[in-house]
Symmetry: C2
Subunit: 250 residues, 2 copies
Amino acid sequence: VPSFRLTLAYDGTDFQGWQLQTRPGARTVQGVLEAALQKLSLGRPVRVHAAGRTDAGAHALGQVVGFLLEREFAQDGLLRAVNGLLPPDVRALRAEPVSSAFHPRRDAVSKHYRYSLDTGGVQLPQRRRFAGHVPFALDAARVRTAAGAFLGRHDFASLQTAGGSVQTTIRTVSRSEARFDDAALTFDVEADGFLRQMVRSMVGGLTAVGRGAWSVADLERALERRDRRAWPAPAEARGLTLVRVRYPGE
Amino acid sequence: VPSFRLTLAYDGTDFQGWQLQTRPGARTVQGVLEAALQKLSLGRPVRVHAAGRTDAGAHALGQVVGFLLEREFAQDGLLRAVNGLLPPDVRALRAEPVSSAFHPRRDAVSKHYRYSLDTGGVQLPQRRRFAGHVPFALDAARVRTAAGAFLGRHDFASLQTAGGSVQTTIRTVSRSEARFDDAALTFDVEADGFLRQMVRSMVGGLTAVGRGAWSVADLERALERRDRRAWPAPAEARGLTLVRVRYPGE
């Protein structure tokens, strides 16, 4: 059976997240993609696996998914056919044949997420789908230092929202950078894996440091406590984008 | 009677343009703004004048409007009150008291519009509200040269869509620059005034040059003919943003 890998971009604003839901009527990215692929697979249901199960309202520029189809496609033909069937808020950017052993999440070496946070008094309507908003300035130097505290191997239990079901809460962060432009913070983070709402929790912590509610040492101590209740609320989902998933040799 | 000036940003995607329409049910920026201001003016209807009447689907980062209210407001108080009443796709960025003689359109010295055009095979969903799209590469050097042909004082009758009712079609363009980043063209144009759909027509002409259908000389000749039928169709409204309006001394 032919096996494929697609790279997807989506505007998650009007989706209840990536993952199919039992609740009827919930519009999910997985749902609209599987419905499109079924039409390309002789009408047979297609099960899709994704590298990252993005939250409701979160976005992707480089989500990677894998699936089997009942018929062959040339790469360009599959790309065009899928985009012809998907709604405009989801686009396939690349299609490739892969080994049937490929699993987008298990095979991933690392994932890169980006969070955008507007900090001006009034958020531009042009930014409201793709950036969170806090109406106060953040201390840039403190936020940059605090971002560095996430680097390396840590137990991130303090940053995991209830509902995750992972065997270990230890992750290794290889990149954690905060940049400021005008009245906006951009936070780039790459790790071998992420716990549920981990990036949004990181931004919640950075915001606490940036507004002066926490020192950098407070953030480090709260991280070490491995207790969700020691950590501020996660930032809004709308600022979060899955930028890229890396696989061996890429 | 207190007179005010507001600077507005809006995502025009879900509006039938700036201007009030006689057709009932048409959602316009002027309509939602006047409805909000009426609540701040002792319930009396408020008439708003704008610097530029943006098309259906076009956007603003710096639209300027003027109006009279039946009661006084401090600047910050007015800003907060208006934003509390406007829908999230329109935001007031600045509020100032002005002379009652102020007229946003007649008093403007120049307007700056920006057009974004994506030229990759697939447009990112994140860009679909704020950029037009043509699925082919444009020749950057030729487009930059062609943009220069609009500079200076010209009769732009070839670029006016039917329905305009202006006394003269002569305008002076003080800035006309095309930049390319990745698979996107950004066109910045500033002039003492614009005809109906003039910027979108400019981009239609630049696209014809960029894809090779026209030479730069063809564009110049079509401009000199002062005939709408000599010019290509205007680019999509969704790529257009009114960036800034300049007034004497600003």
